[in-house]
Symmetry: D2
């Protein structure tokens, strides 16, 4: 994780635990008692499963606890008492993102344009592909591009090389921008809730290969795209964002592909943005997306 | 089929056949040569399957062929030559629609409000249900309401009674307005492409029972509703219309049900309207919906 | 205001005030300290105007303060200290809604269907119109229907009679369901933020009369509907909800009217639902809509 | 206009004229009689204004009239008789597009990514800006970039230089990709229906400067973007495409700007695509967009 060369202006906690009385009061008291001004609070209770979720952000300027002690103090004073799971983020963090691609450029171009224009607070030091095709795009943006073709035989070793590259580049999370390979469970386990995929259908309809062909054959009037965290079950991980667009009998498979591209770009970008903003909490194969 | 007590102002042909050169020219010539003014023409070619589809409507005021001879003349002069399938409709037709319901009232209310306000050129002489619950709604609108509870044992005979009722009321097409019974293939064969169902999911995702529960469990961010012609395969008939709405982690199953109700009403109404307008052509389990 | 014949299960506070440190902690402490279990909390800070908004709901079962003392205690212990504006609601309240209509039935039918099916926790004892046309609809649903035709000359006295009727029926809020009269500022002042209108355009585009004609003339590709609280400035009150639908060059003004009807119904219903749920806070001619 | 180094596979006619009997029959007969196979036909009649519009495309492979004679023959045999306005296009045309930008990069990146990936059959030889900021983007894509700063005093001469550049590069149409200058009527007259602008609001709401600020101040729940042909009246030209997205009280002006960017990209790209595909016919300040 990089950091901007300035102190953090705010801290953000993402919390989940069993729902209990007094949670909100205790958490907000912890912040208020040390002179933290809350600038964001969103909470959710899953009434059925009795789980409490919260995202809370507060200004650090006059906060009495130094940044490096906030975590330990929160753990000692609150998290243990309520048996909380929690993550702490600071506003000057600049996460490092790797992009995996195959041959299609539309999502890659869109991600890089957002990165380069400064739309996102993120670094993109590494692109990995199983094909040479998009090297010119990577070079145009001045980003390291590595080609690791995958076959049944070499999958394990190629994934090991990928992990080396990811570690060398200190990568925090991975975006599969229409990467046409299935990652092994071992690979996925290394980056839990840190691999974001875009699938070109409205899941759970049309998982797997060639969803636009299937959508056309079924005669649907709406197509979709789904961004989700990758888990070991194909196209079945927690959904972060979905989008749809209308189609008609006039649209050939090629038209669906064309219309789908714009959807894929948009849905993937929204998911990556939510992830970067630390607004996604995954639980029980579903996501809580804070506003 | 009822007719308005006035001569038809226009005639509409729906045609499909193998794509061939000269089809549009021949059809439009047939109409123009007899002084018919074309007021609507929409055609579609399925390039992959080489099938031609057309909907064409023309004014009858100065048309040289009397209404009752249009069909035979079209068959003799064009349809046989090009091996066309075709249907002919007149603008003064008032189709007769039966509604099947169970316990949920939202689609029924919506259909009846459109009927009563004159929004649709249709008659609704008959409502059939497997429960008593919605009798007061039917009575409020002055429509015959018959309760035919269905069990495994009596299904065949109850469906026979339903068919009798449908025939007595001279019904042209049936709308399943959240009717919670599966019709037998024998019943369905009696009304091919004339039974419209609303399914409360974005098909092909979540067919069958309890789709909102499944959608909630899967954590989708968008829910849908699908209107389709009923075929003997459950929830797999040709799709007429679909609609979607956004949901979030905040939405319980009950919220999905509530938000879904508004979708179901709207999607069903759009499908029924397209059907009444003779704008739906079904082919190979897909629909062509003319604009 | 009616109440269900059972004690309230929960209480809800809507609060707004100048943003200050410690607000959330103080409010949640007030509830937690008296054994209230928070089941809903949504807050918003308008950073530009430095205003804090909150909706908080908690269970009353084990709450230590009796229902009738909650308001005074909250006022004394918190509201005065932070100079808060606040409203308190209980879950067993059944607000009483009047509907104003003219000649168009679609919104009226939709509202009454939701009321009758029990979709909304509301009473509808009164419908007022300036025309006789919809009396049969009101009678069909068994609701008092009063016709008060409005002319320039009689407007003041007719509005006085309307207010008498509203008071006799103990009305809490009014829904203008395509009511084609402009209410006087005096009338509006009697029901601040308690008159909900549906305007058949995407405001602020096309305010005033005949928006579908204007939309058609301008050649827009999307039409909309807007639900808002009525203020003395025409079609300029705080917006509660908006919806849109796509149109094309094929759509005549009549088609826009037809497509718009479905929008109007839906957008108005969502606004009324938000109002009934006490999820709308109006401030500075804008609304905060809690999730 | 460039052409692909291969003969055209199809020709497309765009036609409009006063509605008359026999138009479709005459046009389709012209094509069929010379062995043209119609692969696309879409027509529209503006019933109110009595205007007929058609887009018709047919295969040239066995068409009996050579490409260069189609126009003159159509003019002589049909267009004069029916007093038609018409344009003829061939499928091997590659129109040349110039992009005007100021400082914002999102639309520019999106257009160039579509161009470079081969998504569009178009050439982009020229980018003009009134600022230096986006030169690196243009260079990255290897496209001529000219900076022509505009002041009140130099506007006329700078526009003359722009026109020289456009002529030197043989430009067919211009895309204003968030170009923050108002073109003079003289400039616009040079490129009638050939300058496409993206305006960052749902026109006719919020024309002119700072629409996101105005949208925020008005408290709308939906924001939009509008792509239109530029005419001498600001933001009032014929609308080609519009898109919208939901916003809430949580969204600051900056959030509207961020959400709006994605809309602007998408709506502009759809409009440019329709233009390139020769699917736009402008009439009486409205557009017919063929499917």
């Amino acid at each position: 994780m990089n950091h901007k060369p300035c102190p953090a202006e705010s801290a953000t906690l993402l919390i989940h635990c069993r729902d209990q009385e007094g949670l909100v009061a205790a958490i907000t008291h912890f912040i208020a008692a040390h002179n933290g001004n809350i600038i964001y609070l969103d909470q959710h209770v899953d009434a059925q499963k009795q789980v409490f979720f919260m995202r809370i952000e507060w200004e650090l300027e006059r906060f009495a606890i130094p940044a490096e002690e906030i975590g330990p103090r929160f753990e000692a004073e609150l998290a243990q008492r309520f048996n909380m799971s929690w993550r702490l983020h600071f506003s000057n963090e600049v996460p490092r993102m790797a992009i995996f691609v195959s041959k299609l450029s539309h999502c890659l171009f869109d991600l890089l344009a957002r990165y380069q224009s400064g739309e996102w607070q993120v670094e993109v030091p590494l692109i990995i592909s199983n094909h040479e095709d998009l090297r010119p795009v990577a070079e145009r943006f001045g980003i390291d591009f590595h080609v690791l073709p995958i076959t049944k035989e070499n999958k394990r070793e190629q994934e090991e090389r990928e992990i080396e590259l990811l570690q060398q580049h200190d990568i925090d999370f991975i975006v599969l921008a229409r990467y046409m390979q299935i990652l092994s469970p071992e690979f996925i386990d290394r980056y839990p809730e840190r691999i974001i995929n875009i699938h070109h259908s409205f899941l759970p309809a049309f998982p797997g290969a060639k969803p636009y062909h299937s959508a056309h054959a079924r005669g649907v009037k709406i197509i979709g795209a789904t961004s989700h965290y990758v888990t070991s079950e194909l196209d079945a991980g927690p959904i972060i964002d979905q989008g749809v667009t209308h189609v008609s009998h006039r649209d050939s498979v090629e038209d669906l592909v064309r219309k789908g591209r714009d959807l894929e770009k948009l849905v993937l970008a929204r998911a990556v943005y939510a992830h970067i903003q630390n607004k996604v909490l995954s639980y029980d194969n579903r996501t809580v997306i804070f506003d």
